[in-house]
């Protein structure tokens, strides 16, 4: 029944997508056609499909093969609902739903029959939707019924919704790592909004190219969707790091794992695109480059999906074992070849663009930032794909891991921080040296002083000092600019400085929202520098009642414990934590045992303090003693706070509109 409902939803969405393409084509040729109702059909179909999946999961309907293989009666809420995106087929339903929402919103904002660009964009989105809903009725069908039940799980399934059902009584449940923390219920949808949102600027770009109108119109109209996508992508990456830290028990949050890289690459490309899009809208430059970037960003989301969902990462050889790999790779090639062929055919329209007068200008710093971000994305791309390509073609196995990425990414990140300090205070078209100097000197002195303070009181590790100096420089520049603009207004109006600070921000919220994101990036950079360079580690073995001193804490092993939860058994050690003769808390590093899974899933216990985290991992537990891994992550909370701040900047920028076109008030320019 639910199989039928779900399949009907997918087919309805597929028909809607086909109608979007056919009718979009008529509209772009100037004929009358309605796109809003097929977009509504796509959305309704996708909603029905997701609803069918959710009902099946929440009501333990094991007649669906997907439910039989990825769900179990004991899986508690919210993990049963989140199982909808715990495996390939279900995650494509989620992808389809998010795409349907974006398509519907794009179609809703169509400006009538004369809006050829909007119609072309909706048409492109319909084409992308055909691919994803097509996957759902072919190689990754989430609504196959189980026709060969096992004791637990399903051995054979049929795509025909009326096939004779042979449903098991229970399933194995989702991957234990995915039901170990509530973040796993939130992280994938957030990330998917980010990935799929990038389809909108891509669709507008392709639409603009196809119609031969490469002006800034497509950028203006896709700007908000780009910001939505970027903000969610930022949030999703941050949540992913947090999840890894809380669940994977190695004390880290980022390992340059291909799955992580798959989300970082589009983020880097989208970040570059947001900046270069601004250059085109303000100065009509970088037209061609914006097309390249937005096509690249979209292609990278597909590449990321291919890498993470085809199993290619685990083994190059699993590529041919499922049809999903070739399907996604084929789509990627189609996107790249199709887009760049179209781009080449329209290149005579986009090639013309004025020259930069001087690199000491806003557009100059944006150009440097784009170069750095693109090289950054390229480093991640080649580091992730080269081992796969080399093994596929020659059979040679090489490892590309943290040492390689860090060696290239760390210098690139510091160069980006430096550029971030110059960008906001450099006016468009060019800055006089006097103006720059007046805006740079105070932040530079403050930044160097902060560096000295940290070097004398906390640490003399070079990377940490560099992160502090550059980070405080960036923040100082932003605060300095805000005060300078507000003070100039206050001296004219006679109103208090704070009132004028609000006015300055209110005059150009998108700019200041961008600066909030910059501050977020700074916090992340400082947090990473501390956590990566100053952690402490020890392995200890303790008998009950025994204590150990570690990093200023006194840890006392009280007793082992064991408790049963609905979906798992938990075994662990209860550890009392003292600091400065005061009890600051109890930690329970543990292992979670899931039915049908050999061995326990080791889950760390984390205590957050202002100077960083105490992170305990269970290594071994027997009747007499416990072996624990003890770690500190100095200032790690800055990374989470920074990620959140960066995303907040994006969301704020969405909600606020610029009131006036003025960026630099007159008195400041008069100083030039």
């Amino acid at each position: 029944m639910l199989a039928l409902l779900g399949t009907a939803g997918v087919i309805a969405a597929l028909i809607g997508s086909l109608l979007l393409v056919v009718r979009g084509m008529r509209l772009t040729r100037g004929m009358e056609a309605d796109l809003k109702s097929p977009a509504g059909l796509v959305l309704a179909g996708a909603l029905v499909a997701m609803a069918a999946m959710q009902i099946a999961l929440l009501s333990d309907d094991f007649s669906l093969a997907y439910v039989a293989n990825h769900h179990s009666v004991a899986t508690p809420f919210p993990f049963d609902a989140a199982t909808a995106w715990a495996a390939l087929e279900g995650s494509i339903v989620l992808w389809g739903l998010v795409l349907a929402v974006f398509t519907w919103m794009t179609a809703r904002r169509l400006g009538g029959g004369s809006d050829r660009l909007g119609a072309a964009a909706v048409m492109v989105m319909g084409g992308v939707a055909i691919f994803f809903f097509g996957l759902m009725i072919t190689v990754a069908n989430p609504f196959e019924v189980c026709v060969d039940a096992l004791d637990i799980g399903c051995a054979g399934s049929s795509a025909w919704p009326f096939a004779a059902v042979d449903a098991p009584a229970n399933g194995p449940g989702p991957n234990p790592l995915l039901q170990n923390h509530f973040l796993m219920a939130v992280h994938p949808p957030v990330l998917y909004v980010g990935y799929v949102g990038l389809t909108v600027p891509f669709a507008y770009a392709i639409g603009a190219l196809a119609l031969g109108t490469p002006g800034p119109e497509w950028l203006r109209r896709s700007h908000r969707s780009t910001l939505v996508a970027w903000s969610f992508l930022t949030l999703g990456i941050g949540l992913g790091g947090w999840w890894a830290y809380e669940v994977l028990s190695w004390g880290g949050y980022w390992a340059w794992d291909p799955v992580e890289n798959a989300s970082l690459m589009p983020w880097l490309a989208a970040t570059a695109f947001i900046h270069s899009g601004l250059v085109q809208r303000r100065r009509e430059m970088l037209q061609a480059w914006n097309f390249v970037l937005v096509i690249g960003a979209f292609a990278l989301t597909i590449l990321g999906t291919f890498l993470t969902r085809s199993g290619t990462i685990n083994s190059v050889h699993s590529f041919t074992q499922s049809a999903i790999g070739p399907a996604l790779l084929g789509f990627l090639v189609l996107v790249l070849v199709g887009s760049f062929t179209l781009f080449a055919m329209r290149s005579h329209l986009v090639a013309s663009s004025p020259r930069i007068e001087t690199f000491v200008s806003r557009e100059g710093t944006f150009l440097v930032n784009n170069l750095l971000l693109t090289v950054y994305a390229f480093v991640v791309l080649i580091g992730t794909t080269y081992p796969l390509l080399l093994e596929a073609f020659t059979g040679t196995q090489v490892g590309v891991g943290e040492p390689f990425f860090n060696r290239l990414a760390v210098p690139l990140s510091f160069m980006l921080l430096l550029t971030m300090g110059f960008g906001p205070i450099t006016p468009w078209r060019g800055a006089a040296p006097g103006l720059l100097w007046s805006r740079l000197r105070a932040p530079t002195v403050v930044a160097l002083a902060a560096g000295l303070l940290v070097a004398v009181t906390v640490t003399r590790v070079g990377w940490v000092i560099l992160a502090i100096v550059l980070g405080i420089f960036v923040i100082g520049v932003i605060v300095g600019l805000l005060l300078e603009l507000a003070a100039a207004r206050a001296s004219r109006s006679g109103r208090p400085l704070l009132v004028e600070v609000r006015t300055v921000i209110g005059n150009d919220p998108p700019f200041w929202a961008g600066q909030v994101s910059h501050i977020g990036v700074v916090l992340v950079a400082i947090g990473i520098a501390f956590a990566a360079n100053l952690p402490l580690h020890a392995d200890v073995e303790l008998a009950p009642g025994e204590s150990v001193e570690f990093a200023g804490y006194i840890l006392t092993y009280e007793a082992p414990f064991r408790r049963d939860e609905p979906n798992r058994a938990v075994e662990g050690a209860r550890v009392i934590v003292h600091r400065d003769d005061r009890r600051v808390g109890t930690l329970e590093p543990r292992a979670n045992f899931y039915p049908g899974v050999t061995g326990g899933i080791v889950t760390p216990a984390v205590m957050t303090r202002p100077d960083g985290d105490l992170y305990l991992t269970l290594r071994n537990l027997d009747t007499e003693t416990v072996e624990l891994g003890l770690d500190t992550s100095p200032m790690i909370w800055l990374v989470w706070l920074g990620g959140l701040t960066t995303a907040t900047g994006g969301f704020w920028s969405l909600s606020a509109r610029r009131r006036r076109q003025v960026i630099e008030p007159k008195p400041v320019l008069a100083d030039v």
Partner: protein, 335 residues
Amino acid sequence: MSERVRNVLIVAVMAVMAIALTLLVSTRPADVDRVEEIGSRIKCPVCQGESIANSPSPMAEDMMDLVSERVAAGVPDQEIIDELLGSYTGAVLLDPPASGSTLVLWLAPIAALAVGVGVIWWWQRHPGAVGDPPAPPTERSRTRLVVGGVVLIFAFAGILVVASNSLQDRPAPASGAADLADQDLTEVSDETMEAVVAANADNPQVNGMRLALAERYFDAGDYRSAFPHYLEVAEDPDATAAEAITALVRLSWMAYDGNDEVETATRLVEEALAIDPNSTVALYVKARVRWCGAGETDEAVTIFETLLADPGVDPETRARIESDLELARDGEGCP
């Protein structure tokens, strides 16, 4: 104070601060944790892309212990790395060298940067003037574009064809394993078996060959090479009961015989017995471990007696158990 004097003073202050910072940072005593540093450069053989410094797996911990020992003994980094790569199959350097097949990894980002700078420079030299009407496409340029597009499509198609071919040319994983499993494995070299096992790491059918290979290492006394394969089988939820028992029993024996870890050995053999409480080989190894390792002679005698009561035990094993039982009853140490 004039503006100029003030600026000079500010610059002087900045310079002093920068010099002080540089001095502070550069005079810091080096405290690089060499063990962590080396560990972060080696891929853990039984994990997915994790370094041995990050992985909580027993094998990674084992390898990290080795690194600690060698660092303490003053062995140079490169020698430690070479030893790890040599003695653990599947351990790969995560820090690709700037030579050979990974040279391109280091050159490509530099090339990308150079191309980027080059494009910007070219664009600055050949800008289209502001507001120029776009040049109408000539017939020639249109032809060129069409030809270019077609060439591009063919190039991609060619790459795809080559890619799929070379993927198929490789020893086909699943079928290769099955074919080899049916063969007389005595004909196959260790290296071939390693290659097939590595290529089919995700395929449960390969467990048979993996065990055969591990047994060879085990018989030759090469516990270090045997260990990862037994571990892989023991941790594989798709392994058959017989395979899992063999692997656990061997791991147990190696833990006792190779590392003197009696507790670990007992735990492992108990895991095997949890799968099949009547497994002869598991019971025998448990008796030996308890007797030789923990000195629990009585426990061993009981187990030996139980085993002898089982008519299913083949004569050769029976003879060994009988001689062991005699020694144990006499209160002598184990041979």
